[in-house]
Symmetry: C2
Subunit: 265 residues, 2 copies
Amino acid sequence: MTRIACAQIAPQLGAPDANSGVIVEQIRAAVTAGADVIVLPELATSGYMFDDADEARAHALPAATTSFANWIGAAGDAIVVGGFPEIGPDGLLYNSAVMLDATGVLGFYRKSHLWDREKLIFTPGAAVPQVLATRHGAIAVMICYDLEFPELTRPVALAGAELIAAPVNWPLFPRPEGEHPGEVINAMATARASKVAVACCDRTGVERGQPWTEGSVVVSPDGWVLDSVGSGAGIAIADVDLSVTHDKSLTAHVDLFGDRRPELY
Amino acid sequence: MTRIACAQIAPQLGAPDANSGVIVEQIRAAVTAGADVIVLPELATSGYMFDDADEARAHALPAATTSFANWIGAAGDAIVVGGFPEIGPDGLLYNSAVMLDATGVLGFYRKSHLWDREKLIFTPGAAVPQVLATRHGAIAVMICYDLEFPELTRPVALAGAELIAAPVNWPLFPRPEGEHPGEVINAMATARASKVAVACCDRTGVERGQPWTEGSVVVSPDGWVLDSVGSGAGIAIADVDLSVTHDKSLTAHVDLFGDRRPELY
């Protein structure tokens, strides 16, 4: 079993030190709770509601081990995934995520599908997510709006991802009473379609007037919500048997991948 | 507005005349209720739980206007979509659907993703669904398991489908208390991902020991269930403004199709 945790926090714009403190505290809390994989929100180090690229640039970090030394120090035996604004070697800004453990950085990913005003600030990533083999599973990282594109989620599952770990900042949209947020329904359908676990870590805390969905969830490979946070800060945490993702069959004659008809697509 | 109806009936194996009577009665009822588009279940003329190909062959119909004369006679001003076992000119069996109106047959579609034991009986269709322009909207027909493949649902939306009309027979799977059936969650996510309406017409009535999800739903282009039938026979019916599907934007800088990154896929 792999214990997966999503730490729904409230990053504060313009307060990188406070954010760093909260992040390290939450990584430690999740490690203490036995988490093997810990997901943090999108742009966790900086907050989200930048007025413009200059403001984002002021809080951007290089994609380097040194930027995450305190995360690495807190990781214990866990894999940690979280978002940050990246200043690239090319001087461009990216909405990025890091995957790391106690030994250092395992990988970076740049969001390839930018949402709304992010397009005025960031450059979209030029590569699809890699599936990284870690000691706690084969993990693909996506960021928020990326998840809404089956063109991205299906291929990473086909490439062997057992878990899609997604830092998100889901702006609040209205929904009918009693329904999961639309983004959660999409995460459930994504999991179900490819028998892959999906962990989405959302944020909380109204920022410059923007409320959030507070929709952090751990979704099982059969598409059901195992745990969620709901309103406010907290950790969604659940045990998932990622080995079930290796077998895409549902019955004797049903195989979610084998039943594809690539010659038609 | 387009009034979309899904008539959840209980086809009986080996009783084609009784099934035909129920189908015509339900088409008339939906027309009387003002339906513009009427969806019937998969294999509505025959029932589903064939023991083998011989039994299916005994109830199969040619894909011809004559097979659906009574449907055509009852269609009024509506477009009708429903499933039947097809005996092809090649002598092979297909799990097919017809789209028709009062003027005759508008199109046929052969299920391209066969579920479970269907593989022992039917030949999979060799073509993806067409998007048919009707006076009640641009409609793509899929059958049941087809819907679970984003490789199929995304392209029909990109090709201009306003509505995916899906005859289904969803065998009952367990689900957590309070959750929509997984198949409905998938339909909601499909609608949401591409801003397209989705109407799924399931069946009822235990057949040879097989219970059904009874999950008929009309899903709006923003991914919410507008109406459902629930347990037993009945009609899900809802008005949908299909013109909203022409504009894939959600905000000033978000466009569900424009935001795709085809150069990466």
